[in-house]
Symmetry: C2
Subunit: 277 residues, 2 copies
């Protein structure tokens, strides 16, 4: 066990810690952050997963969203993985939307990415096992949320594990990566040219599956990446056809930034808590 606690901050009466560890799945050193609420009444607490967007690390959500106030208010733990494998030995690309910081939370099958870019398995398997040892009085109930590429990740991971995650929410997610420039570039590199293999990583396809958790999506109307990267039409059409519980809301005047996320994060926590209590 290589787990090291590298930061520790009291925050809103709970505690935010940052850890580093060697990941067997990703074959590199990784960091993640975990917030534990005070749990003064020593009750069972649920766990929310947060996945960040392109170029981010686990720090962006910790430092810019103000989530700790809401996690303490609702007495829920929050775990924040990094957005990709890291390090000198891990393949990268000069572009900011491919390689390190841009994993798209999938399991890559193509060289040179396949050896390290297994973020899906890392999160759903290795980090899940670690989290269970770090959250005292864990209730066993989990949900997942994310932003942009991390909104895509939350939807994909949540829908592929519908029995495990009670709810999914996303800010400005990439809803149809197979048809958006960011997604096409990443999927071509990580999964190859055969688009049949892309379907299991595309929320617009997964939403047609047998079982899908309830979904809340919030999109800013002044988002510079909307609608080009974040088009909702196909996802909503497929959700409607299958009668899914999907709430999609547009917020007037808001952009793609953490200022937007911070503003509406209370709505997302309230949504998740409906299913986590």
């Amino acid at each position: 066990m290589s787990l090291k606690r590298i930061e520790q901050h009291r925050s809103f009466n709970g505690e935010l810690c940052k850890y580093s560890h060697y990941s067997e799945v990703l074959q590199c050193e990784m960091t993640f952050s975990l917030y534990l609420p005070s749990n003064e009444e020593i009750k069972k607490i649920p766990l929310i997963w947060w996945l960040s967007g392109l170029t981010c690390t686990d720090d962006n959500f910790s430092q810019k969203s103000g989530f700790q106030r809401l996690a303490e208010k609702h007495q829920v733990a929050v775990i924040i993985p990094d957005t990709s494998p890291r390090g000198e030995n891990v393949p990268d690309d000069e572009a900011w939307d491919l390689g390190q910081g841009a994993s798209f939370y999938l399991d890559a099958t193509q060289d040179p990415w396949a050896k390290h870019y297994k973020m899906y398995t890392y999160i759903t398997d290795e980090l899940t096992a670690l989290a269970s040892t770090l959250v005292p009085h864990f209730s066993g109930k989990e949900s997942i949320m994310g932003h942009s590429m991390g909104g895509h990740g939350a939807l994909v991971i949540g829908m592929k594990n519908a029995a495990r995650f009670q709810a999914i929410s996303a800010f400005s997610p990439i809803l149809s990566p197979s048809q958006a420039p960011w997604g096409i570039k990443a999927f071509t590199a990580y999964l190859g040219e055969d688009k049949a293999s892309w379907k299991e990583w595309d929320a617009s396809e997964l939403v047609k599956e047998a079982s899908v958790p309830p979904v809340l999506i919030t999109q800013g109307s002044q988002d510079a990446f909307y609608p080009k990267q974040l088009e909702e039409t196909v996802f909503l059409k497929h959700a409607r056809e299958k009668d899914r519980v999907v709430h999609y809301t547009k917020k007037e005047g808001y952009d793609h930034s953490y200022f937007f996320i911070a503003t509406f994060l209370d709505e997302h926590f309230a949504f998740h808590m409906n299913y986590l209590r």
Copy 2:
């Protein structure tokens, strides 16, 4: 008028803007940030000044404190200056606690600092005039808060202008800069060896003045810079002798970070609003 708006974000129903302008006082290009609440009822609104600490810019408070939620809740504008003059032509030092990012919010008298390092006059004069043009329906009521070096700045500027500022608050402030390593280093460089000239920039001395606004100070018990840089004894002794309204509270387990500030910022806004309404 060289004022340019370089960023604009809707945030908690109000608007956060970042500006750049040429400062005649500082003889360089400067940035600052301003938050305007929604003011949907079109009432007169007050203005709070925030001063950040060593190594910061106006971005730290904007991005890490979550203050926008409270500014919108209380319908108060917030202005955030940078922490020093900036640019290639502005003298600097290799150390992080002197020069750019470390102005100590005073008017320097010593070379090479005297030409540019006039942050006291910049804030109380030039930026004040600019702010009055940027805050619609300004009530004319102002208060000031800050963190660490900016807590020192808030106390000094607030007490030197007691008729203007209705209240002062500080997180982990340098309360006796003339006796703390950071302050001694900066004052020696900016003001010279004669300690008589230091008194007008030392909160522990200014608190003895004829008129002092009400003060709230919050200090974390696990702050790595406490008590060495942030000793409160002399300030509190002088405040008590003069019967000042000074609330000094210690928060168990909290450190020097923005996680600490974010946790207790609601108490500070509530304190200020008592005097700004």
